[in-house]
């Protein structure tokens, strides 16, 4: 596609459409990104929820172990036995006391998985442990727990310590309480297996969970895991108090609702974005239209009219700065063209010779004032004239003969021509005929000088006069060429070029239209004349005289309607018929008919309507 075929409006709309498409794509991408980001945020927040739930589970666990520890820590039996722990029998007694919760239960027995209860002296050496519970645990306190209690001094040692630590049997939870209450004599360690309580995390988070040891061995596995299409797995690692991984907890969040909400949010967001984009685009287009397209269209229309000769017009300068500048510059240029045209016309009018220019269809294109006065035609009538109206001789034939006799196709022909004035009177003129190329079509420029009787008797004068016409022809040729050159693009630029109002560079379509207009003009004229003659019983001459639209000529004392007659035959009808005259004639006839309805009137109305449509381009 060539860039010249694109209008600014089309390019702007294309650009805005591209922006619109980009906006749609971006909004879709943003929506997807938003969804992904929302899922990530959801995962992070749910991971935090699981973390909080895990610590809540441990806190609840601590309540039971602390309670048990405190009860046993204040047991007089145990305290007394512990005070004398160096006796082997006391150790057995201590073990028996420590077995009691395993055998007889305790408050919260069903809520925790008690694995071991151990008693340590103040040097943190194991005194005794329960026989019940898990076997094979390291006899010493966990290193982390040991370190913590050693760091404590004085009253601080009375404070209970809870730790999650890694035993040979997996993660264990210990609560170390002072034995003897405020009067510390030893330490009591309550060991429970936290795996028993891990399922409570799911109750707190209200989501199914799976728990694995760090080696991947499952502790509890949710049924959701195998069919987790609608569930988002969220992982959290529960560490020991020392910071080592203890359990891998995976919560399964039902994301169906979240997906639905995000989908709705996405739709609303994208729709809102698109609506806003659309409104912005429409507003931008309106601004473009208001400040760019409309002034541009107005300027183009004005320029086109001026291009077709309406140099009396000026381009509307209302618009943005650039338009104002362009319009002002164009108006200045048009003004210069108008001045130049006037100068050229005046120059040709100043010459006392009759200067005429005819187009390829032998119709008059240009008459200077000398020609108008010589033939007694007004400027309005010139457009209806052709060579045969003005000259007895066939100019085309004369020129053809001249061209055949000469090598130069552009040669001038000096001849005497028999001319015919408006009144029908014939007279002789010296003529210099030059074949030219006005308006891209072959034609003739003719310079005439009437031969008086005196001149006719003087051959030398006649010869000199012919020579003078030739020289004048050369002199004015340049001006005429310039004038006609301008008339190529400005057919109505010259006041004399009446029959070029429709332009000279018609396209094929325009030519076809012109032919149709011409045919329809003839049809209207024939219909109008039929009405006039049949319905009103009047003559053609009456029509010309009464309507005052068509000139009446006197040929040998006989009034004729030469111009009107041309419009009654397609062969003689001017190639650029003066349609306004035809329409005026039809309307004049219709007006004369009044309300009288006849077949001819109907036909005339129909023809007139078709002609009007053709002219308006419908």
């Amino acid at each position: 596609m060539r860039i010249e075929n694109l209008s600014i409006k089309a390019v702007t709309i294309i650009i805005f459409s591209m922006i619109g498409v980009v906006a749609i794509v971006l909004s879709i991408l943003a929506g997807s990104y938003f969804k992904k980001a929302a899922l990530n945020a959801q995962m992070n927040s749910l991971s935090r929820v699981i973390e909080v739930a895990s610590y809540e589970m441990l806190r609840e666990l601590n309540v039971y172990t602390f309670d048990l520890g405190m009860k046993m820590g204040h047991s007089r039996e145990l305290i007394q036995a512990a005070r004398k722990h160096k006796l082997e029998s006391n150790k057995e007694q201590i073990s028996a006391i420590l077995d009691d919760p395993f055998i007889n239960g305790f408050v919260g027995f069903s809520n925790i998985n008690l694995e071991k209860i151990r008693v340590y002296d103040l040097d943190l050496t194991l005194i005794a442990e329960s026989q019940q519970g898990i076997e094979g645990l390291n006899k010493n306190l966990d290193d982390y727990l040991l370190k913590k209690i050693i760091q404590r001094k004085g009253i601080e040692r009375l404070k209970t310590i809870d730790v999650l630590w890694m035993s040979s049997h997996g993660p264990m939870h210990s609560t170390l309480v002072p034995l003897g209450g405020l009067h510390l004599i030893a330490y009591l360690e309550v060991i429970v297996n936290p795996a028993f309580n891990l399922s409570d995390i799911g109750k707190i988070t209200k989501t199914p969970i799976s728990v694995y040891f760090t080696n991947g061995e499952p502790v509890t596995v949710s049924q959701i895991e195998t069919k987790n299409d609608n569930y988002l797995p969220i992982q959290f690692t529960l560490n020991t108090s020392e910071g080592k991984p203890a359990y891998k907890i995976i919560g399964y969040e039902d994301v169906a609702k979240l997906d639905k909400e995000m989908g709705e949010t996405q739709v609303v967001t994208i729709s809102g974005f698109l609506v806003l984009s659309l409104i912005t685009l429409i507003f931008a287009l309106w601004l473009f239209n208001r400040f760019l397209f409309v002034p541009l269209k107005r300027m183009m229309r004005d320029m086109e009219q001026m291009t077709h000769g309406r140099l009396d017009l000026t381009v509307n300068k209302k618009g943005l700065r650039e338009f104002y500048f362009l319009a002002q510059t164009f108006n200045l240029m048009a003004n210069q063209v108008r001045q130049r045209t006037n100068e050229l016309e005046r120059l040709l009018d100043l010459d006392d010779s009759a200067i005429m220019c005819f187009g390829s269809d032998n119709e008059a294109v240009y008459f200077n004032s000398g020609a108008s006065s010589l033939f007694a035609y007004s400027r309005d009538e010139i457009g209806d004239l052709d060579l045969s109206d003005l000259f007895v001789e066939d100019i085309n034939q004369l020129m053809s003969q001249s061209v055949e006799a000469s090598v130069n196709a552009q040669s001038k022909l000096n001849v005497q021509l028999n001319c015919r004035s408006k009144s029908g009177e014939q007279f002789q003129c010296e003529a210099v005929i030059n074949s030219i190329d006005p308006l891209n079509s072959s034609g003739y420029a003719i310079v005439l000088r009437p031969i008086t009787n005196d001149r006719g008797s003087n051959k030398e004068d006649c010869s000199a006069s012919t020579e003078q016409s030739g020289q004048r022809m050369n002199a004015i040729e340049q001006s005429l060429s310039n004038l006609l050159e301008m008339a190529k693009t400005n057919p109505s630029l010259l006041s004399s070029l009446n029959n070029l109002e429709q332009g000279v560079t018609d396209s094929k379509g325009a030519i076809d239209n012109k032919i149709q207009v011409r045919e329809q003009a003839v049809s209207v004229m024939l219909s109008a004349l039929a009405c006039w003659e049949r319905d009103l019983s009047r003559s053609k001459l009456d029509l010309a005289e009464e309507s005052k639209i068509w000139p009446v000529y006197i040929d040998k004392s006989t009034p004729t309607t030469r111009t009107l007659d041309k419009y009654l035959n397609i062969e003689s009808c001017p190639k650029n018929p003066r349609c306004q005259r035809v329409i005026d004639t039809a309307e004049f006839v219709l007006k004369q008919l009044g309300d009288h309805q006849t077949e001819y009137k109907k036909k005339l109305i129909d023809s007139l309507q078709v002609l009007r449509q053709l002219i308006s381009g419908i």
Binding site: M70, I155, K159, T160, I161, L182
Partner: protein, 116 residues
């Protein structure tokens, strides 16, 4: 809840333990409700609700008005111990201690408790 009570010694949990360990004769009065006391209390404390505390009752528990006595309740938002402390001071007890943090501070520091 006042920050301090004039005439009473305001103690923290650690200071309470030091006091208990240094003075076995210390009377600790838990001014909370019975139900709360049963759930857990400081070792050696006796439960007398502040509203039930009277001069006669105090006279029975502490005949010597120069004896050391400590009051506590649920915590800094609880008015019972401050009320009881004020009463004891008004009745002429000179060695009155007030554990303002109360049960909340005690349990938050995971100190030994007695449960029944």
């Amino acid at each position: 809840m006042p920050e301090n009570i004039e005439g009473a010694n305001n103690l923290t949990a650690e200071q309470v333990i030091e006091l208990i360990l240094s003075n076995p004769e210390l009377v600790i009065i838990d001014s909370r409700k019975k139900t709360e006391y049963v759930k857990g209390h400081i070792e050696g404390s006796i439960n007398i609700l502040n509203t039930q505390l009277s001069a006669n009752e105090m006279q029975k528990i502490l005949p010597d008005k120069s004896s050391q006595v400590l009051f506590y309740c649920n915590g800094s938002r609880c008015m019972r111990s401050s009320d009881a402390t004020s009463k004891a001071l008004s009745w002429g007890y000179s060695n009155v201690y007030w554990f303002r943090g109360g049960w909340k501070e005690w349990t938050s520091k995971k100190l030994p408790v007695i449960t029944e």
